[in-house]
């Protein structure tokens, strides 16, 4: 009775694949549309730039998607990225070796992740409020580490050569013709994709997002799972902060501002439900690409920043709207279908 569907069908039937494929289809349409208006969009250099600037949104989107799938939200993402940029830059201007600086930065960011996990998973604070708090805390730390001002160039502490290596690793360098930033993002994407779809932790993340009571009664630790999700989010934010630091060659106190919302947008455009329990990272990948292509394309055709924001805002609402319509439509249609089958 259990006929195994063929592999392609199985992949298409994967939960959340619908949203992801829709986003990819939208991506292709948007990309070609901009390309027709301005063929420079298709140029090799533009594709390279596109992939690189998309990487930040992809990483942010991965972190936020993990949280959205647990049914929560993480507002601290942008501030943690800013904190990451400021801590790492401050340390390097003080002459700390880049690798040591990265490790210390990572540790600090993960502390915020654990804190979010405890507040939401253990003490049951509403995630919106808990991470609103940590958002301000992390931004505050970003301001304080260098005494309320942006840092000097990191080259001033660790020397030009090391600063260039740092900048190349995270932003300016390329491998096999593609910027390193993209390779970093894709490598982490693969790791976190697998963590979510192929491991126990991933299953638990979906389970608490779908029905936290049932998950608890199945032996899932809500605290551990929530904390792991917030750790993933903090880790991704940390990497984005390092990329921002590498790009600027210094620390900017306002780095990563609003990124948490870009993460929500990337996830939601890609079919990750903000209500928890559904969505796949492939969708987030498509969502981040849609976002960046829109920004890039609107830029290339000379639209003002205001217009860019406006269009992107509309796209997010339309994406969620379609999702809701499709979902409700599926619910309403079902009884009619079975009814028809009976009369036949």
């Amino acid at each position: 009775m259990n006929t195994k569907p063929n592999p392609i069908k199985r992949i298409l039937n994967t939960r959340g694949m619908g949203g992801a494929l829709t986003a990819f289809a939208g991506l292709i349409v948007i990309y070609i549309a901009f390309g027709i208006i301005n063929p420079t969009v298709f140029s090799g250099q533009n594709i390279m730039n596109l992939l690189r600037s998309m990487s930040k949104y992809l990483l942010i989107g991965i972190g936020q998607s993990y949280i959205l799938i647990t049914g929560n939200i993480d507002l601290s993402i942008g501030s943690v990225a800013g904190m990451s940029a400021m801590i790492s830059a401050t340390l390097m201007t003080m002459g700390v070796h880049p690798i040591a600086a990265i490790l210390i930065t990572l540790a600090c960011c993960l502390v915020i992740g654990v804190l979010n996990g405890l507040l939401v998973g253990k003490w049951q604070l509403p995630p919106f409020i808990a991470t609103l708090g940590t958002m301000f805390v992390a931004r505050g730390v970003a301001y304080i580490v260098n005494g309320n001002r942006n840092t000097d160039a990191i080259a001033s502490g660790i020397g030009k050569e090391a600063a260039d290596t740092f900048g190349n690793f995270f932003y300016y360098g390329s491998t096999l013709g593609i910027y390193n930033t993209f390779w970093i993002a894709i490598a982490l994407f693969v790791v976190f994709f697998f963590l979510l779809s192929g491991t126990r932790t991933g299953r638990h993340i979906y389970a608490i997002g779908s029905n936290v009571d049932a998950a608890k009664l199945s032996g899932v630790s809500v605290l551990a799972t929530t904390t792991k999700a917030y750790l993933v989010s903090a880790f991704c934010s940390c990497v984005v902060g390092l990329i921002l630091c590498g790009q600027a060659g210094m620390g900017n106190m306002e780095a990563g501002n609003m990124y948490e919302m870009y993460g929500v947008a990337a996830g939601v455009i890609g079919g990750v439900s903000p209500l928890g329990g559904t969505g796949i990272l492939l969708g987030t990948l498509a969502g981040a690409a849609v976002w960046q292509t829109l920004e890039n394309g609107l830029n290339m055709i000379g639209a003002q920043v205001g217009i860019q924001r406006l269009v992107i805002g509309i796209i997010v609402v339309v994406a969620v709207f379609l999702d809701v319509v499709v979902r409700n439509g599926a619910h309403k249609k079902k009884p009619a279908k079975t009814g028809a089958a009976k009369t036949n």
């Binding site: 006929t3 039937n13 389970a207 779908s210 032996g219």
Partner: protein, 501 residues
């Protein structure tokens, strides 16, 4: 002579697969308290929902205050003067007494709320009932008994003259029950008719004038309360032979597997002691709200325990959360499958695998796909879950098949104790029999089975030993061969003396 204010004749109501009401007659006179009695599922609540307009009847006539009504709806019923005080109180906890009483029909002066006049009117209604409450007080700060009185006052403020009270004393202390009875007497004196639904037969004598007894959706009899004894009432309520067939397998009773000693957890789990042996199914009978579900949750580590020991195979096990219980070998198939049993947004495969990921994953926490698929297919086949494939959302299965997933996910692993909480609620007969066979299989394997059910025939048909609970305590234990519905019901209604006589 008091007049008949409600007259229901030949009321029928069907739900898909169930005939909930089968030509039921019901009368209520002004100035009387009518007890509506029957087992769980006898149709009492359905009948009252027809009267209050929540359900539409399929057949029958309905006359209120001498006037025939066709289709009622809750709003119309309220206008006619029928009010229902629900078991779970429907109050906005953050609003005041007066605000709650006038919710939805606030008095206004121009566009502004006329709080003064609402509070004055609320005060006068409360005074009439001799209820000492400040209309400005926030309802959430009041004890449950006072909240209930606000509900009653609210009903009166809408000029209700037919009041339906569904288990009004279940959450009250002895003092509060006395207060409630006093108010009921006031209502009677004002000429209201009161329908009183309760499982606490002992308390009827203090207030009830007449009783109507229902069983299996049918009207059995009604009579003056003074002409009947409690034993006769119980006999009327039960009064049937077990018609369904229950597959029973004989098993040698083996050694003690599991023991609970002095378990306490809140008001509904008090001093619980019992043991489970190999080769037997132990049924837990009782009325709804007897504390059986709470007991299973305390054992399984969902709710915190205040005290008590859980002993498995002679060794005490510490259970702080469900994870500990599962690792020790104790599993629970919970009562409310939508709320506690299933992740409805996830696939059947995800649901079955969820509690079993410990052995479905390798030591790095990666899921072994082959093993997972095999386990899921085996579960689907063993339990005869009807589904095209295991990738379907659990939400899209029928109730019976959902229940099989809830049970099946636990049977995929080796356990020592399996707790079933109402495993057959709301599923069809064929699926029920399959669940019984599953329990019998576990029993044959020497696994201890704890079986909570509110359906008495089922408990008597499947369990080898029956433990009866009432109001958070174990009130008795019966061997299956000695058990009769009368005995169980009498144990299940053994409330602690609450009423000061």
């Amino acid at each position: 002579m008091s007049e008949t204010i409600v007259s229901m004749r030949g009321i029928c109501k069907s739900f898909p697969g169930v005939k909930a009401l089968d030509h039921v007659d019901f009368d209520l006179r002004s100035g009387e308290v009518m007890a509506l009695l029957g087992e769980n599922g006898a149709g009492k609540s359905t009948l009252m929902k027809v009267l209050s307009g929540v359900y539409q009847r399929d057949e029958g006539t309905l006359e209120i205050f001498g006037k025939q009504y066709g289709d009622l709806n809750p709003k119309l019923a309220q206008e006619v003067g029928v009010a229902i005080i629900h078991q779970e109180l429907n109050m906005c906890k953050h609003l005041s007494v007066a605000e709650n009483m006038f919710l939805g029909r606030e008095k206004r002066r121009g566009i502004r709320l006329d709080n003064a006049s609402m509070e004055a009117e609320a005060k006068s209604i409360l005074n009439e009932l001799k209820i000492d409450l400040d209309p400005k007080q926030v309802v959430g700060e009041l004890p449950v008994s006072k909240q209930q009185m606000v509900e009653i006052a609210k009903a009166l403020s809408t000029n209700a003259r037919v009041l339906i009270m569904d288990e009004p004393t279940s959450a009250l202390t002895a003092r509060e029950i006395d207060d409630l009875f006093r108010i009921i007497q006031e209502l009677k004196a004002k000429g209201c008719g009161i329908v009183y639904i309760s499982h606490r037969l002992e308390e009827l004598q203090h207030i009830v004038d007449r009783v109507t007894i229902m069983r299996d959706g049918q009207y059995i009899t009604s009579m003056d309360f003074k002409d009947v004894t409690l034993d006769e009432i119980i006999a009327y309520m039960v009064g049937r032979e077990i018609k369904e067939k229950f597959p029973r397998v004989a098993c040698e009773k083996g050694k003690k597997v599991f023991e609970v000693r002095g378990l306490n957890a809140g008001r509904m789990v008090r001093d619980i002691d019992f043991s489970l042996y190999e080769g037997e199914i132990v049924g837990f009978a009782g009325l709804m709200g007897a504390g059986r579900t709470e007991t299973t949750r305390a054992i399984f580590g969902v709710d915190p325990k205040e005290g008590g020991q859980i002993i498995l195979d002679g060794r005490e096990v510490a259970i702080r959360n469900p994870k500990d219980a599962i690792q020790a070998g104790i599993v629970l198939a919970p009562e409310d499958r939508k709320k506690d049993g299933l992740c409805t947004k996830l696939s059947i495969r995800h649901n079955i695998a969820l509690p079993n990921l410990d052995f479905l994953c390798n030591r790095f926490g990666m899921i072994r796909w082959g093993k997972e698929a095999e386990t899921c297919d085996k579960t689907v086949q063993n339990l005869k879950i009807k589904t095209p494939n295991v990738e379907i959302n659990a939400a899209n299965l029928s109730g019976g098949n959902q229940q099989k997933v809830v049970v099946g996910k636990w049977l995929a692993r080796n356990s020592r104790v399996v707790i079933f909480d109402e495993p057959t609620r709301g599923i069809d007969v064929a699926a029920k029999v399959e669940i019984y066979h599953l329990m019998n299989d576990l029993k044959k394997q020497g696994i201890a089975v704890m079986f909570v059910s509110s359906e008495m025939p089922e408990v008597m048909g499947i369990a080898d030993r029956i433990i009866v609970m009432c109001d958070g305590r174990i009130t008795g234990e019966l061997m299956a061969e000695d058990a009769t519905q009368e005995k169980i019901l009498s144990l299940a209604t053994q409330f602690e003396k609450k009423i000061a006589v």
